[in-house]
Amino acid sequence: MSLLQTGIDALLALGLVWLAWRALACPDLFRGIVLFIAFGLLMALAWVRLEAPDVALAEAAIGAGLTGALLLAALARLNRIAPAGTRADTREAWRNAPALLLVLAGAGLGLAVLSLLPEPAGLQAQVAAELGRSGVSNPVTAVLLNFRGYDTLLEVLVLLLALLAAWSLEAEPPRREAAPGPVLDLLLRLLLPVLVLAAAYLLWAGAHAPGGAFQAGAVLGAAGVLALLAGWRLQPHLTGLPLRLAIVIGPGGFLLVAWALLLTGRPLLEYPPALAGALILLIETLATLSIAATLAVLFQGSRPAAEPPA
């Protein structure tokens, strides 16, 4: 590795630690969020340098794009409930807590790295040996949707649980929203179709390259978030059953496939190799729809049915 590459890596590592520290320790929540957005950007670049483009893609879609928007919306809500001056400020007393946490986490990680075997065997050889029967050629997708498909099933269910938790909270009072203005309106009209295309592309790419349902769902979900930010709302007849169907079709379809496979006498989520590719694509397509719908609805915060008719 050249000196330049070492420089890049050193700068990334230092930048990440500094940003993490500043984002946690800075007394102003808004500044903390902007620092966190910058942290997400650097994190994606760090994953690239670690030769993990799959994770970089997920970080780009979720970390840099959606999390920032979610945190900003949460901050806006917090400021409405309890304006900045009225919040009990415990941060001053806990100022050094993040540093302590960082030191502890760093020490733990250091110990873990030191205790690694010099040449960890890993599972790459086993994954590579079975890849031919998985239905896809991207090893990450093979692990996520075939060899350990139950992990992904549970992840999709966790997202559903998060939504249930958000929906059981008190609905936010409606708030005045300024007109979006022509520039934001045009941005949406140009961008939404391209976001749909990009999501479909990431879904397709997942079979052989970085991509897949979570990334595609995040991109499609971002389209929903942008539409919500511009003040676009679902028509009332779509907020009931159709929206709920979109939210559960991913986990539901996944469970149905798992159940059908159990009925044929196979172990949980072990696809017949001939059908594996098609089944994975089906599950991922449905999961993309559900993830997108769930992320957009989570951004909105409360149940859309509770919205007064516009």
Binding site: G181, P182, V183, D185, L186, L188, R189, L190, L192, P193, V194, V196, L197, A198, A200, Y201, L203, W204, A205
Partner: protein, 162 residues
């Protein structure tokens, strides 16, 4: 204008071609991708046709606009770079009003966006027909520049300014 053919109204050919091109580019020409690409392009074209009415871009207007845009955005960047690099930081900003000749609609919003990419101008607000522009150098003839841009945008969309 209502198209007589409902299929062509829902899926206009120029949109189909444009989104097929976008798919071809983002998939870097992978032939196998069209199994998902075809439905995705159909969906995107349908969505786009619902969101944006068809525009009549003229090819000659497009070429002239592209040349104008590329040259002037480069000039704009050089201009900003000079001001940023010089130790004296030569800035004389101001806010000017420009009355638009373009009628309301997509061409006008398009112009609003391009204004911010061209030398020394930044669109700051739009009230009725009045475009408020923040300029880096109030001594320059900014309105003349804006009028030139407006003529190019009108040419791009096949319009004639009153």
């Amino acid at each position: 204008m209502q198209s007589r053919n409902p299929l062509r109204a829902a899926l206009p050919l120029p949109r189909l071609l444009a989104f097929a091109l976008v798919w071809w580019l983002i998939s870097e020409g992978a032939a196998a991708s069209w199994s998902i690409g075809v439905p995705a392009v159909l969906l995107a074209s349908w969505l786009s046709a619902r969101l944006l009415p068809p525009q009549r871009l003229t090819p000659s207007g497009l070429l002239r606009f592209l040349g104008f845009f590329l040259l002037h955005s480069l000039l704009g960047a050089v201009d900003v770079a000079q001001r940023a690099f010089r130790p004296a930081r030569p800035l004389n900003p101001g806010m000017i009003d420009y009355s638009l000749q373009l009628g309301p609609g997509l061409p006008r919003v398009f112009m609003l966006n391009v204004v911010s990419l061209l030398p020394g101008t930044l669109s700051a607000d739009l009230e009725a027909d009045c475009l408020r522009v923040h300029v880096l150098d109030a001594d320059q003839d900014n309105p003349a520049q804006l009028a030139q841009l407006e003529a190019r945008v009108a040419g791009l969309f096949g319009l004639t300014l009153p």
